[in-house]
C-alpha cells in the first residue's frame, strides 16, 4: 500500500512538472499533505507496546498546519508566486520534518521552529523589495556585507584562539562554520549566500567592463579564499560555482569559464597537498572499503542505507540510518532512501531538478537581466547544493558536510533556503508584471 502510494506520489510530481506554470499543482500539495497524514501516525505507533505516542501526533499536527497554511499564506503575501516552487519547497520541508522526527524528535522540533520563523520572514520579502526598490544600486554594500559576514568568522576564530574563548565551532570536516554569540550559534556563510547572489546579479546586470569584471572577480575570490582558509571547502565550492554560473551567463565568455575551472582544479590540487583532512576525505571517497572502520565509516554506512532494502525501502521507522554519525545533517538523503526506497529517492532528486527547471523557465521569461540572473543564482544555488549533498551521500563526489536544502537539520540552512524561495516567488511576480 505504501509502495502504491509512493508510485502515485511520483506520478503526481511528474504530471505537475508538465503543467502550465499558471496552474495550481494541487496534486503535489495533496501528496505533501497525505505524506504527513500517513507518516506521523506510523511514527507515533509503537508496534511492540501497541500504543500511540501523543507527542508525535501533536508534532505531526503542527507540520500539517504548516504545509496546509503555508501555500495559502504564500498566495496572499506574494503577487503571483510560483506555485510549483512553493509546493516543491513544502514537500521537501515535510519530508525533512518526517525523517528528522524519526531520527531525533528534539532536532525536528527545533527545525520546525526555524522553518516557521524563516517562512514568516520570507513573507516580508515583497515588502523589503518595495522599500528597497532600487536595491541594485546598493551593489557595493552587498559586497561589503558579504565579505564581512565571511570575514567575521575568520576574525572571530583568530580572536577566539588568542583570548581563549571559542567563538567559532568547527564541524567534523574541520571546517570553522558556526559563530556563537550569547549562546546563539549561527552560520554566517549561510546568510552570506543570498546576499552574494544578489551582489553578483547587480554587478553583472549590464555587460561589465574589464575593470569591473576584475573587481568583481577579485572580491569573489577574496570571499572564496577566506572560506578556504576556514577550511570550509564545501561552502567555498558552492560560492565558486555560483560565481561561475552567473559570470558565464552575463558574459558568455567560454574561455574564462573554462579558465575558471582550470584554476579551481589547480587550487584543488594545491589544497589536497596543503590540508591533511582533505586527503582523508578524498581517500574515504575514492575507496572507502579499506577504511570502513574509521574514515570510510560514514560513507559506507550511507551506501548500506541506500542499497540494502531495494526499490521500496525498509519502511518508515525500520531503517538503521540512525547509527550513522551526523546523519541528520550530512546523510539525510540516505536516511530517506533507506526507509522510502530508491524509487522514492530518485523522485526526490527529481523534485530538486523540478525546482531547477522551473527556475530555468522563470529566468528565460524575465525581461530584466537583473531578475534573470537573480532567478538563475537562487535556483542553481539550491539545486547545486542538493547535488553536492546527495552526491556526497552516494559516493559520486567526496563528502563535504553541505546541507541538503529544506531537509537537513540546520537552523541557518533551512532559514536561508526558505528566504531564497521567498525571493524566487517575488521574482515570479515581477516577471508576470513585466508581461502584463
Amino acid at each position: 500500500m505504501i509502495a502504491y502510494f509512493l508510485l502515485q506520489a511520483g506520478l503526481f510530481i511528474f504530471k505537475e512538472s508538465k503543467d502550465d506554470a499558471t496552474a495550481q499543482p494541487r496534486g503535489f500539495w495533496i501528496v505533501t499533505i497525505l505524506l504527513c497524514v500517513f507518516a506521523f501516525p506510523i511514527l507515533a505507533f509503537d508496534e511492540n507496546l501497541l500504543s500511540v505516542d501523543v507527542q508525535t501526533l501533536i508534532y505531526g499536527g503542527f507540520v500539517l498546519v504548516f504545509v496546509i497554511a503555508g501555500p495559502l499564506l504564500t498566495k496572499k503575501a506574494f503577487r503571483r508566486p510560483c506555485p510549483v516552487i512553493t509546493q516543491a519547497m513544502f514537500f521537501l520541508l515535510a519530508m525533512g520534518f518526517i525523517i528528522l522526527y524519526r531520527l531525533n524528535p528534539s532536532l525536528a522540533t527545533a527545525q520546525l521552529v526555524f522553518a516557521a520563523i524563516g517562512f514568516g520572514v520570507s513573507l516580508l520579502v515583497p515588502l523589503a523589495f518595495r522599500i528597497f526598490s532600487q536595491f541594485e544600486k546598493l551593489e557595493k554594500l552587498f559586497m561589503v556585507v558579504c565579505l564581512s559576514l565571511i570575514g567575521i568568522v575568520f576574525i572571530a576564530d583568530i580572536l577566539g584562539s588568542l583570548i581563549g574563548i571559542p567563538f567559532v565551532a568547527v564541524d567534523e570536516f574541520g571546517a570553522a562554520r558556526w559563530i556563537s554569540i550569547f549562546g546563539v550559534s549561527f552560520q554566517p556563510s549561510q546568510i552570506a549566500k543570498p546576499i552574494f547572489v544578489i551582489y553578483l546579479a547587480c554587478a553583472f546586470r549590464v555587460k561589465p567592463s574589464m575593470g569591473k569584471l576584475i573587481f568583481t572577480g577579485v572580491a569573489s575570490a577574496a570571499i572564496i579564499g577566506i572560506l578556504v582558509l576556514q577550511r570550509d571547502l564545501g561552502s567555498a565550492l558552492m560560492f565558486f560555482m555560483i560565481f561561475m554560473v552567473i559570470f558565464y551567463t552575463a558574459t558568455g565568455n567560454k574561455l574564462l569559464f573554462a579558465g575558471g575551472f582550470a584554476a579551481m582544479a589547480a587550487a584543488s590540487v594545491a589544497a589536497y597537498q596543503f590540508f591533511p583532512h582533505l586527503r582523508i576525505r578524498v581517500a574515504a571517497w575514492s575507496n572507502p572499503w579499506p577504511l570502513i572502520a574509521n574514515e570510510g565509516f560514514q560513507v559506507t554506512q550511507s551506501l548500506f542505507a541506500i542499497a540494502t532494502w531495494g526499490p521500496f525501502g525498509a519502511g518508515l521507522g525500520r531503517g538503521m540510518a540512525g547509527r550513522i554519525p551526523v546523519v541528520e545533517r550530512d546523510i539525510i538523503f540516505s536516511a530517506i532512501s533507506e526507509e522510502f526506497g530508491w524509487i522514492f529517492g530518485l523522485l526526490f532528486i527529481g523534485v530538486y531538478a523540478l525546482l531547477l527547471l522551473r527556475g530555468a523557465d522563470m529566468a528565460r521569461r524575465a525581461k530584466r537581466p537583473l531578475y534573470a540572473l537573480m532567478t538563475l543564482g537562487f535556483t542553481t544555488f539550491l539545486a547545486f547544493q542538493a547535488f553536492v549533498s546527495i552526491g556526497g551521500n552516494i559516493k559520486l563526489i567526496p563528502m563535504t558536510g553541505i546541507t541538503l536544502p529544506f531537509v537537513s537539520y540546520g537552523g541557518s540552512s533551512v532559514f536561508i533556503s526558505i528566504i531564497m524561495v521567498g525571493v524566487l516567488n517575488w521574482l515570479n511576480g515581477q516577471l508576470k508584471e513585466e508581461e502584463a
Partner: protein, 464 residues
C-alpha cells in the same frame, strides 16, 4: 538579452546534466552495484529478518530443500535438514550469517511481485514467500562425502568441468547449523579444527604431487619433445647439496614423463624443473590460477605461488613437486583437473543455478562462463593420457572403477604438522568427463584414502 537567454540555457543544461549523472549514479549504486557490497560485515542490516515473511528456501539441483524456513509458534525458524553437510556452503543464520545465507541474504528476504503478494496476504491470508535459491548441488552426494570424511579434517570439491557447476563442496570438521547459536562459543575458539573455515575454498595446503600436473604442463609448453625425456630414478636425487627423495625411497628405475606421472617420481620432476628453469613453471602456475583471484560465490583464498624468477636450486626442485612455500586451495586444484578434463578451458565455478520468485517464476539464472583457455587442447589430451596411466597402473589405482575410465593424480603433502595430507585430483569418465574433483584429507600420513573416496564419488556420479 538574447545572448543572456542563450547563456542561461547553457547553464541550465549544464546543471541538468549534473542531475542526470546524479540520478543515474544513484540508481547504479542502489540497484546494480548494491549486491556487491551490502553483505559486508559492517552492514548491521544483514542480521535483520523481516518478520512475517517466509525467507527463501535453498534447494539442491533436484529440488530437495537444503535450507528452509518452517513456521511454528507464530514465527518462522530456519532449518537445515542435512545438518553439518552444508554448513560451509548453504551456510548458517544465527548471530551472524555465512555461506549462501549471507551471500544471498537479501535475495532470500525480498518479495518478488511484492504488491501482488501483499494484496494476496491482506485479502486471502496467503503466505508472503520471499525468493528462493536453486543450487547446483547434489544433496545425496554431499551427504555421502560428508559421511565418508567422518571425523577427519579435509575438503572435497566436485564440479561439472563443462559448465563449472559445483555438484558437491564439503569441508570437515563441520558443525550443525541448526545449533550454531548454542555452539558458537566453542566454534570460534576451536583453533585446532577451525570448524567455521570453509577448507574447500579458503584452506591453503601444499599441493604435493598433484602439482606435477603443472610442472608437466610447464615442461611441455617449454619443449613438447620433453614428453620423451627419460631419467634413471634411484630413489634419491641430489641438487646443490640437498636431496629429493621419492616416496618411501622407492627407486622407480628408468622413467619417461608418462611413467613418472603414473608412479609420481619426485626425482624425475625435480630434474625436469632443473632442466627448464623457473620461468616456464611460473608461467604455467599462473595460467592455472595461482596468484589469481578465483571469482566465486563464497570467499575464496588466493592460491600462492611465491617463487621468483631466480630461485635457489633447492626451492626450484621443491616447488616442482608441490612442496616448498607454494600453497593451493582445493577449489583451485579442482579447477586444474577440470581444465584438463574440458580440453583446456576453465569454466567459472558457480553454485547458484537460479533464483526463483515466490510464485515459482525464475528471476535469474546462471549462464556458464569461461575463464579462458588455460592450455591448448593438445596439451590437455597429452596430460589426460598421463592421468589415465596414473589411475590404471600407477599410484591412483584405488580410484579406478571397472565400468568407467577414471583419470587423476594422487598427492602426499608434507606439512608443518609432520603428518602428511592425502590429495587426489581427477575426473571421469576420461573420454567424456562429467565430473572433476579435488580431495584433500588432512594428516592421514599419505596413503590411499583420498583416491578411494574419489572412486566412490565417480561411482556415485556415474550411476545417476
Amino acid at each position: 538579452m538574447k545572448d543572456l537567454r542563450k547563456n542561461l540555457s547553457h547553464m541550465f543544461w549544464f546543471i541538468t546534466a549534473l542531475f542526470v549523472v546524479l540520478g543515474g549514479y544513484f540508481v547504479y549504486v542502489a540497484a546494480i552495484e548494491a549486491d556487491d557490497f551490502i553483505t559486508n560485515p559492517f552492514n548491521a542490516r544483514v542480521a535483520v529478518d523481516v518478520e512475517g515473511i517466509r525467507r527463501g528456501t535453498i534447494y539442491d539441483a533436484h529440488g530437495t530443500p537444503i535450507v528452509e524456513s518452517v513456521y511454528s509458534n507464530g514465527r518462522y525458524a530456519r532449518q537445515y535438514p542435512f545438518g553439518a553437510a552444508f554448513a560451509h556452503t548453504a551456510g548458517y543464520s544465527g548471530m551472524s550469517r555465512a555461506g549462501l545465507e549471507l551471500s544471498r541474504n537479501f535475495t532470500m528476504n525480498r518479495l518478488n511481485w511484492e504488491l501482488i503478494q501483499r494484496a494476496g496476504h491482506v485479502m486471502f491470508g496467503n503466505e508472503l514467500t520471499a525468493n528462493s535459491i536453486v543450487t547446483t548441488f547434489d544433496a545425496d552426494l554431499q551427504q555421502l562425502i560428508h559421511n565418508s570424511l567422518g571425523t577427519s579434517r579435509g575438503a572435497v570439491v566436485v564440479l561439472d568441468p563443462t559448465t563449472g557447476a559445483i555438484v558437491a563442496m564439503v569441508s570437515t570438521l563441520s558443525f550443525d547449523p541448526n545449533r550454531v547459536t548454542e555452539l558458537w562459543g566453542g566454534l570460534i575458539t576451536d583453533t585446532e579444527n577451525s570448524p567455521l573455515l570453509n577448507r574447500a575454498t579458503q584452506g591453503l595446503y601444499p599441493p604435493g604431487s598433484t602439482f606435477k600436473v603443472v610442472t608437466a604442463m610447464a615442461a611441455l609448453e617449454y619443449d613438447s619433445t620433453l614428453v620423451d625425456f627419460t631419467f634413471e630414478c634411484t630413489g634419491h636425487a641430489h641438487f646443490g647439496g640437498e636431496t629429493i627423495q621419492c616416496w618411501g625411497g622407492t627407486a622407480h628405475g628408468m622413467v619417461n614423463m608418462h611413467r613418472a606421472m603414473a608412479v609420481s617420481c619426485n626425482g624425475y620432476f625435480a630434474t625436469l624443473a632443473d632442466k627448464i628453469g623457473p620461468e616456464p613453471i611460473i608461467q604455467a602456475s599462473e595460467q592455472l590460477l595461482f596468484n589469481a583471484t578465483i571469482p566465486f560465490e563464497l570467499p575464496a583464498s588466493m592460491p600462492q605461488f611465491p617463487m621468483g624468477t631466480e630461485p635457489a636450486i633447492y626451492e626450484l626442485v621443491q616447488t616442482a613437486i608441490g612442496q616448498g612455500r607454494i600453497t593451493a586451495t582445493p577449489l583451485n586444484m579442482a579447477l586444474i583437473a577440470a581444465a584438463v578434463a574440458n580440453g583446456g578451458v576453465v569454466m567459472e565455478p558457480f553454485m547458484v543455478d537460479r533464483v526463483v520468485g515466490g510464485f515459482g517464476n525464475t528471476l535469474s539464472s546462471t549462464t556458464p562462463r569461461s575463464m579462458g583457455q588455460v592450455m591448448d587442447a593438445q596439451m590437455a589430451a597429452s596430460l589426460n593420457e598421463m592421468l589415465i596411466e596414473a589411475v590404471n597402473t600407477g599410484t591412483g589405482t584405488p580410484a579406478g572403477l571397472s565400468h568407467m575410465q577414471v583419470a587423476g593424480k594422487t598427492g602426499t603433502a608434507q606439512n608443518e604438522t609432520g603428518v602428511d595430507h592425502s590429495w587426489f585430483i581427477g575426473y571421469a569418465p576420461a573420454e567424456n568427463p562429467t565430473a572433476a574433483l579435488a580431495i584433500i584429507i588432512e594428516n592421514t600420513g599419505g596413503g590411499t584414502r583420498a583416491s578411494q573416496l574419489a572412486g566412490q564419488i565417480f561411482n556415485f556420479v556415474g550411476n545417476e
